[in-house]
Amino acid sequence: MWKYCLKKTAQVVIVMILISFFSFAIVYFAPGDISDMYVNPEMTEEQKANVIAQLGLDKSMTEQYFAWAKRAVHGDLGVSLSNKSAVWPQFMQRLPATIILMGSSMILSLLLAIPLGLWSGYKKNSWLDNLISSLAYMGMSIPSFWFGMLLIIVFAAVLKVLPSSGMHTVGNVSAFDTFQHMILPCITLSIGHVAVYIRYIRANTIGQLSEEYVLTAEAKGDSQTKILFRHVLKNTLLPIITLMGMNLASLVCGSFIVESVFGWPGIGTFAMSAIGSRDYPVIMAYVMLSGFLLVVGNFIADLLYAFVDPRIKRGGASGGK
């Protein structure tokens, strides 16, 4: 077990280093000089050199990378090139909006997918199962940003019942107002995950229902609902932990796109504007932050799964409890 943990930890560290180096290299080797954005033609040569030195742009790539990495490890992600203030507080200010969106989307996905998937698997090949399965398939194949646009068209343009963008109506700070603004982005962000979860839970339910313990439970006279919710659900939820960890990546990237469709004021929108102005400390910070979030999410899911699933434990060196 410990060996497994160690291996996974090593992988997290390697992936984080690779992500940081990779994105740093892209920024560094990108065509066009970054410093062009921060010097203007009226400056004297000396002033220009000063600005460039201040930004640390006169050093080699490895020097710049290590300087950046050293500071990043200590929690200093540098100063935004465009507005000259520290990157970290700016992210912290916007992070709650993104976390709220991602968290509620995760909850919504599970709330929708668990009953639908269970039912679909339980009533395999019924018309309801066929309907749910086809919808899940659509959900997997639809571009989420387009689904968001359709929602805007229906609920904001035609029915005019929900706002199309932002987080608050100007001058209104009530929670209900924020909730209203959150409905569409949250559904948009969830659609793909709901689809994946449903397919997964359905397949798992079908598998579990053919296990012998279900037969035993039936023989003991347990009701179908009890079998379904007590036994099958429990065994289906375990793999979902892993799935959720794996889906963190698409949640982070999805929120990036959904935020830009709905003008949601989270870290995705912030990064998007930084990309426009090539503000590399901000971009690096965003990549590192989301990279960290999802790599660690994966890591935790892997470990949880290994701890929780006795079959993996049996395979491990240290045996059971």
Partner: protein, 305 residues
């Protein structure tokens, strides 16, 4: 002395010949199997027909009487009519023609990056699985790390800083998709190389290259085709997201994704512009996903109950 058996290359001629016959039968049967399975499945046939119509329409796009790039302010945002089937966009361009040209770009990106993905993934996977040992361990750790990378994020960064355009897009898309193909093909190769007919060929003195090309690759064609179909769907979906963010196809060229980006500005006053390209993406991606899944179930009978 005269009774000694002389072994020359000619001695193998018969064997070689037999082998090629066998292989070509095998190869035919994979494609035949696929066609047979698809014919049996109504959903699959609908997908095939839809894709065929789409591809033909897209290829015939130049027959349209309208120029997809010419701006004409007097014609802007016209509704659906007999002359403009999908209406016109905010610059007065015929939207049907634009959608067809957009499809050319989207499908081109999808197919090209699928080809790159499959070629890179399969060569690496087969090589790694065939050679085995330390090389395999190293290559697979490398692949695992690629699988763990947040691909969409890095694609966004890459496309921001590289010169935007179709080649960049295709390369970037395949750069982040080959890993899963490599995993699949490696696993298949590992199990194949222990099989009797491969071992027999090796013992007959066939070169490793020959074994791989003539025996391994034809036998992993099934899973590779499945992966290819899913990879087209994935590439088109990714491309549309990137182009929607303004990081993919650049104006005046358009793909379905970048058309949706343009449509976003008119979403409240002229929502129809946002409908057509999206429907096209949905149909294409759905069809490729369905085909991939159906083929997987057909070619791997273990999964089917």
């Amino acid at each position: 002395m005269e009774n000694n058996i002389v072994i020359t290359n000619d001695s193998f001629a018969k064997l070689e010949k037999k082998k090629t016959v066998e292989v070509s039968v095998e190869r035919q049967s994979v494609w035949k199997d696929i066609w047979k399975e698809l014919r049996k499945n109504k959903v699959a046939m609908v997908s095939v027909v839809l894709l065929a119509i789409l591809i033909i329409a897209v290829l015939l796009a130049p027959l349209s009487p309208y120029d997809p790039y010419k701006l004409d302010a007097s014609q802007k945002l016209q509704g659906i009519s007999s002359s403009h089937w999908f209406g016109t966009d905010e610059y007065g361009r015929d939207y049907f023609t634009r959608t067809l040209y957009g499809g050319r770009v989207s499908l081109l990106v999808g197919f090209m990056s699928m080809i790159m993905t499959v070629v890179i993934g399969t060569s690496l996977g087969v090589f790694s699985g065939y050679v085995g040992g330390k090389v395999d361990m190293f290559l697979m750790s490398f692949t695992d790390i690629f699988l763990a990378l947040p691909s969409m994020l890095l694609m966004v960064i890459l496309n921001t800083f590289l010169k935007p355009g179709l080649p960049t897009l295709i390369v970037v898309l395949s750069l982040f998709s080959w890993a899963s193909v490599a995993r699949i093909t490696r696993a298949e190769t590992m199990s194949l190389k222990e099989r009797d007919f491969v071992v027999a060929t090796q013992n007959l003195g066939a070169s490793n290259f020959r074994v791989i090309v003539k025996h391994i690759i034809p036998n992993i064609l099934g899973p590779v085709i499945v992966a290819a179909s899913l990879s087209v769907a994935n590439a088109i979906l990714m491309e549309s997201s990137l182009s929607f963010l303004g990081l993919g196809v650049q104006i005046p060229r358009a793909s379905w994704g970048s058309m949706l980006q343009g449509a976003q500005a008119h979403i409240l006053d002229y929502p129809l512009l946002a409908v057509y390209p999206g429907v096209m993406i949905l149909i294409t991606v759905l069809s490729f996903n369905l085909l991939g899944d159906i083929l997987r179930n057909a070619l791997e009978p273990k999964i089917v109950e």
